[in-house]
């Protein structure tokens, strides 16, 4: 199975540990890009290498898959989008994204349909859900514009910076 594919003017590919560290660090060192998860931004570049190795290990066990989204021609990294906690028995997975400023709605409208199609058709998943910090704008608006359904809010799911964080829940089904 080929896990790399193109989507309009963009390519989605699995990361390569030896070559993607700098670009990933540049993306994930901005706190605003990971606030919705929520998670602390990276502060030193070796964290990106560690993250790449973790991604590779999680992919090996087919527990998760993360794609780097790059411009098809300029090869600039504009987002990381992944599915994790893949449950092959229940045919579902959790989607997570970190977006640069360039990854706006028109870009996501090019990228997300092929990505979801890959998850549903190639991987055979039925449900893709997104859990993110409740009140995370513009992410929640983007999800709704991309056809995700709001399902509710799970209270006190994460302890982050001494605060209990509620997580909003969105989903797309293969039958939507």
């Amino acid at each position: 199975m080929n896990w790399n594919f193109s989507a309009g003017n963009f390519s989605l590919r699995l990361p390569v540990s030896e070559q993607d560290g700098d670009a990933l660090f540049a993306l994930l060192k901005e706190q605003s890009r990971v606030d919705h998860i929520p998670r602390s931004a990276m502060t030193v570049d070796v964290q990106a290498l560690d993250e790449l190795r973790r991604m590779a290990m999680r992919f090996e066990t087919r527990e998760a898959a993360f794609w780097l989204v790059e411009g098809l021609y300029d090869k600039q990294l504009i987002a990381r989008i992944g599915i994790q906690k893949i449950n092959w028995m229940l045919s579902c997975a959790q989607l997570q994204w970190e977006l640069s400023n360039a990854a706006d709605l028109p870009v996501l409208q090019e990228v997300m349909p092929p990505l979801l199609n890959f998850c549903f058709s190639e991987l055979g998943l039925h449900r893709i859900e997104v859990r993110l910090r409740a009140g995370s704008e513009p992410h929640e608006t983007l999800l709704q514009q991309l056809g995700f359904h709001y399902e509710g809010c799970l209270p006190a799911q994460i302890e982050y910076n001494d605060t209990s964080v509620d997580m909003a829940l969105y989903s797309r089904l293969s039958t939507d």
Binding site: L90, S91, H126, L154, P155, A156, E159, L169, T175
Partner: protein, 205 residues
């Protein structure tokens, strides 16, 4: 070492699983409550489940209790997806047809109270799956749970069929624990072993 306590409630008790329970548990799993859940045809898995119940409790990943009424096992209470550092867990009760709602509710509450007191858990979740007894939702609401989300097709009930999952949560208005050393014998950071002088929440197994 003992990790799962025996707890009494009006009309019954919950207690740790033992190998002697295999036949009763096998009978319990002849009456699956979840849509698509298969009737168990092999007792070997139940022996593994008893082992697992000890391992899960010892490592704070989950806890399983046999639910007894009048000395006979009529159900099970399970805590799973236990996240100690996030102060939350999910709960589930499986029961024979004769297990009443009141008994189910009392057993759930006594287990919840124990985990809140002993391990400072604040957030308990319960997933009701479409097709289960509707009265379970009322029972959860009466216990203080609130509906958090309706998760579409989140439960697989067959090869190509799915069921919605309604998630309920109760978040206790309870002070969060402060950090302590692992194994420290204090109210703030209790060890897992329930044997010994500090066993004030449950009797010996």
């Amino acid at each position: 070492m003992k990790f799962t306590p025996e707890l009494s409630f009006s009309g019954g008790r919950v207690r740790p699983l033992t190998y002697d329970d295999v036949d009763a548990l096998f009978e319990l799993y002849q009456h699956p409550e979840l849509p698509g859940q298969r009737v168990l045809d092999n007792k070997d898995n139940l022996i593994r489940m008893v082992d697992l119940s000890v391992q899960m409790a010892a490592t704070q990943r989950g806890m399983m209790w046999a639910l007894e009424v009048d000395g006979a096992i009529t159900g099970m209470v399970s805590a799973f997806d236990w996240q100690p550092s996030l102060l939350r867990t999910m709960l589930r009760v499986d029961g024979l047809p004769q297990l009443t709602l009141a008994q189910r509710s009392s057993a759930l509450k006594v287990c919840m109270d124990f985990m809140a007191e002993k391990y400072h858990l604040r957030n308990f979740g319960y997933q009701w799956i479409e097709g289960q007894n509707e009265e379970f939702k009322t029972m959860l609401t009466e216990l203080g749970f609130k509906q958090s989300a309706v998760m579409r097709d989140a439960w697989r009930s067959g090869e190509t069929s799915f069921a919605n999952v309604v998630q309920f949560n109760i978040v206790l208005d309870k002070k969060k624990p402060v950090a302590g050393r692992l194994g420290e014998d204090s109210d703030i950071n209790p060890g897992q072993n329930l044997n010994g002088d500090n066993n004030k929440d449950g009797g010996a197994a």
